[in-house]
């Protein structure tokens, strides 16, 4: 079992979500984060200019069976990319165990 963590543009979220559903990845968690990186936004407030590389991003946490790993990553890479600096990152790590809270089952059956 693998955890796929993706930090993507907020504007790309609905596309990524659709792409994940299309490959059969139907549940994951997400939350809004502020990212610091290479993309910069220019702001001016009451005459004071400031550029900020603190930009709102969306963080997805998806746990999948090993056989779903490649399609998941491919879906995110295709749907989440714009070609501009600031598209985001994907991290993959190992998961030791997974449980379904409602029934108490464990193992790969509980996942996508």
């Amino acid at each position: 079992m693998k955890k796929v963590e993706a930090i993507i543009r907020k504007s790309k979220f609905s596309e990524v979500k659709k792409a994940l559903h299309e490959v059969g990845v139907n549940f994951f968690s997400y939350w809004d984060v502020t990212g610091l990186g290479n993309e910069k936004e220019g702001h001016v407030y009451r005459g004071v200019a400031y550029s900020t590389s603190d930009i709102q991003r969306r963080y997805l946490s998806i746990v999948v069976n090993d056989n779903f790993l490649d399609v998941t990553i491919k879906a995110i890479l295709e749907a989440g990319a714009t070609g501009e600096v600031g598209d985001g990152k994907i991290f993959v790590s190992d998961i030791n165990e997974a449980y379904r809270i409602r029934t108490g089952e464990k193992g790969g059956e509980t996942l996508n």
């Binding site: 407030y45 005459g47 004071v48 200019a49």
Partner: protein, 405 residues
């Protein structure tokens, strides 16, 4: 019938001016950070509640002491509390042609609290609430009405050969608040993080929609602020006053927006909003004396002054989160002087009287606010600790959060 119409209009205006406190609160919240929202609301609620009580206990009778013939016209006191004039045991309705004693008190009372709200915005996010409340009690309770008596109470400025003119309070309300705001900002210092390596940093407001709502509410309130300062429901005067008021607001906004876009190179909504307020403050000294064309000039120049003043104040390293000094002090002075330059009263003599008035209030306000705030600084300190300021005043001064889950 005359009294009925006048009194009803004055009561409506009283309610409109009261409603401006909502506008102040929203504007101040919108242009500052979330973590201080409770503190700002607390200050604003304190101002209107304590302000009204103080006005009833001492303010009204300090502002309208009924100076004796030939008196100096600097200080008078007609006694504690409110005492309605009676004739044969019933309310004397011949108190004046416009409205009853009660309406007079309440309408004027609503103005009194405005002076402290101006300061509230300028000191936001770093002033201790206790000293602020003490300042409010002293400034609104005593300084404002005594200074107000010099003109509206029939005092020495009213007695000048060419009387000083301030229709609805560009000087008496707005610059009285503005001078105190300036003194407070100087004595308080900038917010942590506002100045870094000698350069001014941006601390954006957290709720611009609320700030916008605040400005529109203030504009609405000004219908009462200026419309009611006619002190009657005279159709010609009130309708002209509302027109000049709105036109000055519009011109102030548009010209501030144009100027700030050229100077700062972005379409900054907060400058647009400040411009509207600057226009409103600017027309307030002479709204009943101006033609619509005059109102455009006054508003437009106020708008330009706003942009100039905001950057100038920034350059002086003075931190005014809401632009209170630019809007109320700078445009208050401009509006006052404009009475000698535009409209029905324009003349050299009037301009000189306006200068005298501006000077008198400048001196008195600077001295009074300096004594109060400096005194508070020495006795209790006026600034919260660094830790409190960074975490937010809501947590430390109030123990509550404005936006709980």
């Amino acid at each position: 019938m005359e009294l009925l119409a006048n009194n009803v209009w004055m009561m409506i205006c009283t309610a409109l001016v009261f409603f401006m406190h909502t506008g102040f609160a929203f504007l101040e919240i919108g242009l500052t950070r979330k973590k201080n929202a409770i503190n700002i609301l607390f200050k604003n609620i304190f101002i209107i509640t304590s302000g009204l009580l103080l006005y009833g206990i001492v303010g009204f009778n300090l502002m309208y002491p009924g100076f004796a013939e030939g008196a100096l016209g600097v200080f008078g006191f007609a006694g504690f509390g409110l005492e309605a004039p009676l004739v044969n045991g019933a309310l004397d309705l011949a108190y004046n042609e416009g409205y009853t004693y009660w309406t007079d008190f309440l309408f004027q009372g609503m103005f009194a609290a405005t002076a402290a709200t101006i300061v509230s915005g300028a000191v936001a996010e770093r002033m201790k609430i206790g000293p602020f409340m003490i300042f409010t009690v002293l400034y609104v309770g005593f300084v404002y009405p005594i200074l107000g008596s010099w003109k509206w109470g029939g005092g020495f400025l009213q007695q000048l050969e060419t009387p000083f003119y301030d229709f609805a309070g560009s000087t008496l309300v707005h610059s009285v608040g503005g001078w105190a705001a300036l003194v407070a900002v100087i004595l308080l210092g900038a917010r942590i993080g506002k100045i870094k390596d000698g350069k001014v940093q941006a601390i954006p407001g957290h709720n611009i929609p609320l700030a916008t709502a605040g400005v529109l509410i203030l504009w609405l309130g000004w219908f009462g602020f200026n419309g009611g300062s006619v002190l009657s429901a005279d159709p010609e005067l009130t309708s002209l006053t509302l027109v000049t008021t709105c036109i000055a607001a519009a011109a102030g906004g548009v010209f501030a927006a144009i100027a700030s876009t050229i100077v700062f190179k972005n379409l900054d909504l907060t400058m647009f909003l400040n411009g509207i307020l600057g226009g409103l403050v600017g027309i307030t000294a002479g709204a009943d004396q101006m033609s619509p064309a005059d109102a455009v000039w006054i508003g437009a120049i106020a708008g330009l002054l706003i942009v100039t003043a905001v950057s100038f104040i920034d350059r002086l390293r003075l931190d005014d989160p809401v632009g209170a000094i630019a809007v109320h002090l700078v445009c208050g002075i401009w509006g006052t002087l404009a009475v000698g330059l535009f409209g029905a009263l324009a003349s050299t003599e009037q301009f000189v009287s306006q200068l005298i008035g501006v000077g008198a209030y400048a001196g008195a306000c600077i001295v009074a606010s300096f004594l109060i705030i400096c005194g508070l600084k020495k006795i209790t300190g006026i600034r919260v600790s660094e830790k409190e300021e960074i975490q937010g005043l809501d947590t430390y001064e109030h123990g509550m959060s404005a936006y709980s889950e």
